[in-house]
Chain length 243, copies 2
Amino acid sequence: MPKKLYSDIYDTLKDEINKQVYPPRNTLPGEEDLAARFDVTRNTVRRALKELQSDGLVYAVKGRGVVVLEPIRDDKVVFTADNNIGFEGLKKFPQNKFIQELSTEVLSFEEVEVDERIEKITSFNAGDKAFYIERLRLFDGNALVVDNSYFRKSMLKDMTVEDAKSSIYQYIRDNNLFKIAAERSTTTVESATKRDMQVLDIDDMNCVGVLTKFVYTDTGSLFEHTQTRYVPNNFSMVDFKSF
Amino acid sequence: MPKKLYSDIYDTLKDEINKQVYPPRNTLPGEEDLAARFDVTRNTVRRALKELQSDGLVYAVKGRGVVVLEPIRDDKVVFTADNNIGFEGLKKFPQNKFIQELSTEVLSFEEVEVDERIEKITSFNAGDKAFYIERLRLFDGNALVVDNSYFRKSMLKDMTVEDAKSSIYQYIRDNNLFKIAAERSTTTVESATKRDMQVLDIDDMNCVGVLTKFVYTDTGSLFEHTQTRYVPNNFSMVDFKSF
DNA sequence: GAGTGGTCTAGACCACGGT
DNA sequence: CCGTGGTCTAGACCACTCC
């Protein structure tokens, strides 16, 4: 019972690419042919092909066709930019099954007023109320990640420490507050601060990876600013783009 | 003289968003209205809106409208995933104007046969011939980046050390060999190796950022595998996604 | 010249949000 | 209920690649 045609076509083609029905470096059948095969219009086929391209499986060349890209042997991937919305998402990643236990410890939970310094960091407006939350993430008992977050208070009604301890995004969903629209992030490597050395199991390393993330609600408001600081040698992030 | 309608609409709307004709947290006019205004069909408007969304400027909510997202105060960005195709691209980034001088030093240049170890790293096929190139990148005389690259030899005709020293991508363009189709990359933070400490100006830091990159040609072949290893505190990468 | 993907039109029906 | 964006059809013309 197909709900979305382009999504069915996407799934089918993806499957056939994996099964080497269309081997790497070959082209897929033309868009017209695919349209005939799936009994849809060319536009709908094109939509499916666009998804495949943004996945990095194929690449369209005008005048030649849609080329199947050679596969890459993937390493274990723990972090991806996608699952950073909610630490809880990590549990669902199949590559992560060697992780037995994930837990979170809330180190700080305070209400602050956004001053100039915080405004500069978070892009919130000075004078706003915000929650500042520092959370330590434990992987099989190892403190590998610490999150420094600011959340706009006005959008969280009366969230408590317990809510923050489990999952803030769960709290938002349960109370039907709003939906998450988008996130912008930057990745850097920085020298470890004293605080990092204090709370993280960082051994003798003196740097951390830093993922700085801005999260938007579906009403266009900046809602969250989080700095995720993580111990080296444990995480990787994946990305794909075409030209 | 418009060549691509959706691109004109994109530019116009982007400009108007920046000028706060449509302020943050407000919605744009409906797609029908925009279609009427630009004298195109709704599909063409939608195409422009999709670009704006993938830029992170707006977000579409069914039943409500296309919401303008609040802007973020951007930090200086040196690296972006986009300009990693070719070190030379860095020079063009306006944020980088404080860098006076960029230069490259070729530390190694050898022809190798892909064995099992290299196959595992690069996803090339065992038995292929490849160039192994190690290049040191100097920023105002500071060795901040070292690139470890493998290139499939069969696609480079008879490239010389001099070609590699200036720009391999320039060489490919000049000789009209092929086009670059896509790139897949992963970002990690790793302990610095002895080699890193040897060639990089890393001071007392013992970690490096690592950008691992696979590059495809427009015929679907994996062509390049590069590990970019960089000194902390100097680079950042930006990313945006919507849900 | 034949075949490919890229752009665009002019309609249609649906699901969802706010009233 | 009405207006919004989401999906889809059935055409058309163009630019490019390859033979």
